[in-house]
Amino acid sequence: MKNDDGAIVEARGLVQHFAQGRFAGRKVVHALNGVDIAVRKGETLGLVGETGCGKSTLCRALMRLYKPTAGQVVFEGRDITKLRERDLRFVRKSMQMIFQDPADSMNPRLNVGYILEEPLLIQTDLNPGRRRERAMSLLADVGLPEDSYFRYPHEFSGGQRQRIAIARSLALEPKVVVCDEPVSALDVSVQSQVLNLLLELQKEHSLTMIFVSHALSVVRHMSDRVAVMYLGSIMELADSRTIYEGPRHPYTQALIAAIPKTDPSRRAERIPFTGEIPSPIDLPPGCPFHLNCTQKIEICHRQKPSLREISPGHLCACHLVD
């Protein structure tokens, strides 16, 4: 189980199904269908794709918040697929998460001091004085005043609350921080403040980040590499410039073409691609994208293409691309 390409957390052939309904009405949601991905130490891996493509499920599966249906999750070279909750404590400490809506991810009855100290209380044996010191230094790290310690989440604006959530995620000095739509709920002028803070903290603490967002230009800005997902599979993976400037997969091309251009004179009268995404309950046979693909050939109906390296560091799952 050795890996020498610098991966810190890895999915190998990861399959994640969820049961929906009971008895005769029982259905299976195929959330992840054989995902292979390695997150390298110190990088930011961006995940993009449309609602329901499995980006959030992949994040949670990598943190071992689910029991995988098949495949493996490997953290720092160790197979953690089958570990019991008790044995997962070191993973919980090393991987932290920041959610979209900071108001929903904090207990409104607890003051900020307690919110920041709770992880320390559970995972460390620091004494109360030390915990408080740590909370204060976290507040300073994210640019909040010291008196925030005694205040409650509702007293803060959205951007400030997201700073508190970031401070909490750093409390245990994690190795990996998973950011699931961290700025989607924020106003434009505050968004860039929070993005800058994340970039700065990543450098300072040499964090590995997984960055999920449906805002494609934000992902491009934040990520070293970007993976494009569709219907529970990875369609293309490359460094962020390549994905945005030279996408090879027809789905990635459609996705990139849909990004609004900020230059009204370049407003293209293009016809956007029109398909609806198939349901993850009845997966189409063959390539997951073939129903909406304008370039499909016969084999796409029958056989799911595998994710292959088409040039150094550029992976693509498409029959048309070699």
Binding site: S189, S192, Q193, L199, H221, A254, I259, P272
Partner: protein, 335 residues
């Protein structure tokens, strides 16, 4: 020129009664929407853009919200003085509105078809009851709904986000509106679906010549869809210009900040993004001076003490343009 104007908002102020007295959330806003054109109303949450739109439809929360000053002229009539019966005809008829989250705007216990048909029953009395079903189908085809015969029988929960937004647009079109007010209709959608919906709105506008008032906080969407742009900050209009001028030569420091703080597709990944420091003040704390002064890089003592007016700004060296470029800033032209 004047008859091209469909909607004219003149010096509208809106205030809400609170237990601490009245709070003015929109201050002296003016703009005009022309037939067949799209005006984008841009700003962050709390800037008053949605309240301005609600006041056009006279849908301010009652009894707290009221228009305290100004006129809203739609097709030559002041909407604010219309009797209730005429307002019923206007809402959903001549002026239609689509919202951000179609799941909350649609009725969960009626089918998509029934909700579109209801609009026909209210605003298109010339259509016989029996002819309504085919008309609903026709409208769903216009909004490019996939397999419309099926969707007509579906309830909102059975539809995807993009399809729900298409049902909303179908309901809006059913009344044959002259003006469509779109309040962030694509914010909750994926970029691919967003591109489809923006394309659809443009196409429909080209065909039936309606005016569109498009409310958004996303400058990317503004660049895609609008002809004119009105930027609001803290309840006031701070800049008005054509979409070309707004992006090519934004003048107000806030507009510049909004455009620059968006990650660009040609910026250097992981570089520091320009950002606007601080946060939007609450309506209770709007200063008497320039409302942006405390976040502005260029503000000086004069800005902190005096309130600038919205004035025509002629760029140096540029022959006066066909359309005025209005800016509310003391420093316009010097920064």
């Amino acid at each position: 020129m004047e008859d091209r104007v469909l909607l004219r908002i003149e010096g509208v102020s809106v205030s809400f009664d609170t237990d601490k007295g009245p709070m003015e959330v929109v201050d002296n806003v003016s703009f005009a929407v022309e037939r067949g054109r799209t005006l984008a109303l841009v700003g962050e949450s709390g800037c008053g853009k949605s309240v301005t739109a609600a006041s056009i439809m006279r849908l301010l929360p009652q009894p707290y919200g009221k228009v305290t000053r100004g006129r809203i002229i739609f097709q030559g009539e002041d909407v604010l003085t219309l009797p209730p019966e005429k307002m019923y005809k206007l809402r959903g008829g001549s002026i239609a509105m689509i919202f951000q989250e179609p799941m909350t705007a649609l009725n969960p216990v009626h089918t998509a078809g029934a909700q579109i048909e209801e609009v026909l029953g209210l605003h298109r009395l010339e259509i016989a009851k029996k002819a309504r079903d085919p008309e609903v189908l026709e409208i769903l085809r216009q909004v490019e709904m996939p397999s419309p015969e099926q969707r007509i029988k579906n309830y909102p929960f059975q539809l995807s986000g993009g399809m729900r937004q298409r049902v909303m647009i179908a309901m809006a079109l059913a009344g044959r509106p002259g003006l469509l007010i779109a309040d962030e209709p694509t914010t909750a959608l994926d970029v691919t679906v967003q591109a489809q919906i923006l394309h659809l709105i443009r196409e429909l506008q080209r065909k039936n010549g309606m005016g569109v008032l498009y409310i958004t906080h996303d400058m990317g969407v503004v660049a895609e869809i609008s002809d004119e742009v009105v930027v609001m900050y803290a309840g006031q209009v701070v800049e008005v210009a054509s979409v070309g001028s707004i992006f090519a030569s934004p003048v107000h420091p806030y507009t510049r900040g909004l455009i620059r703080s968006m990650p660009q597709l040609d910026s250097r990944p992981k570089s520091v993004l320009p950002s606007i420091p601080g946060q939007v003040p609450s309506p209770r704390d709007y200063p008497k001076s320039c409302r942006f002064a405390n976040r502005c890089d260029y503000a000086d003592a004069h800005c902190v003490e005096n309130a600038p007016f919205l004035e025509d700004y002629a760029a140096p060296g540029v022959p006066s343009p066909a359309q005025p470029h209005l800016v509310r800033c003391f420093k316009a032209g010097t920064i």
